[in-house]
């Protein structure tokens, strides 16, 4: 079975500061990795995903995440955050082969960007 750990439940930062949201996973098989974002009073939206190839993946709004197989991590980073990035961020994994074929989520990290 797969599991996801997001160590930080809340991350407050000031606008224009860099941010890193940590995600570690556990799996005995290869996985695909995702970051979803939930803005206040909205549904979950896919932010970015890693399937294969380049270990660095980027979103259209400046976030990036790097898959590190040896550290079983998929941390999310942004060099300069905006007030509008305030949201809850969920890391998730799915095992395309040999797993249960369901998306397993971490508990989420609430990012609050203050002026």
């Amino acid at each position: 079975a797969q599991s996801v750990t997001q160590l930080d439940s809340q991350v407050p930062v000031f606008e224009e500061a860099p941010v890193e949201l940590r995600c570690n996973y556990s799996s005995s098989v290869s996985v695909y990795l995702f970051w979803y974002v939930q803005y206040p009073n909205q549904g979950l939206q896919l932010l970015l995903k890693y399937l294969s190839g380049s270990t660095l993946v980027k979103s259209i709004n400046g976030f990036e995440a790097e898959f590190n197989k040896s550290q079983t991590s998929f941390h999310l980073r942004k060099p300069s955050v905006h007030i509008s990035d305030t949201a809850e961020y969920f890391c998730a994994v799915i095992a395309p082969r040999g797993g249960s074929e369901k998306l397993v989520f971490g508990k989420g990290t609430k990012l609050t960007v203050n002026p």
Binding site: F34, L44, L46, K49, L51, E101, V104
Partner: protein, 115 residues
Amino acid sequence: GAGVSQSPSNKVTEKGKDVELRCDPISGHTALYWYRQRLGQGLEFLIYFQGNSAPDKSGLPSDRFSAERTGESVSTLTIQRTQQEDSAVYLCASSLLSGSGNTIYFGEGSWLTVV
């Protein structure tokens, strides 16, 4: 439709009553998922469908919970004899195929309050 549609968006019910939550996935999506999100907590997997069959029901919390899917389309999640701990947002999601790198799209959820 353009996205995953869920109804009702909000439901307040008395303890002990049965409720039905409906999900219309994106047209052509063969995989359908149900998740639960309790206040201040992460996403909890309930069940997923591939076509009309449910290979993984492991997340259903008790036998009061059941789900079905017909026509490889609409799904209904039924909670019998509701309890206060059932209060949560119930999220439905769909994707082209399960266990693949296809993006899983979420609906906006059905907010259930048991009083």
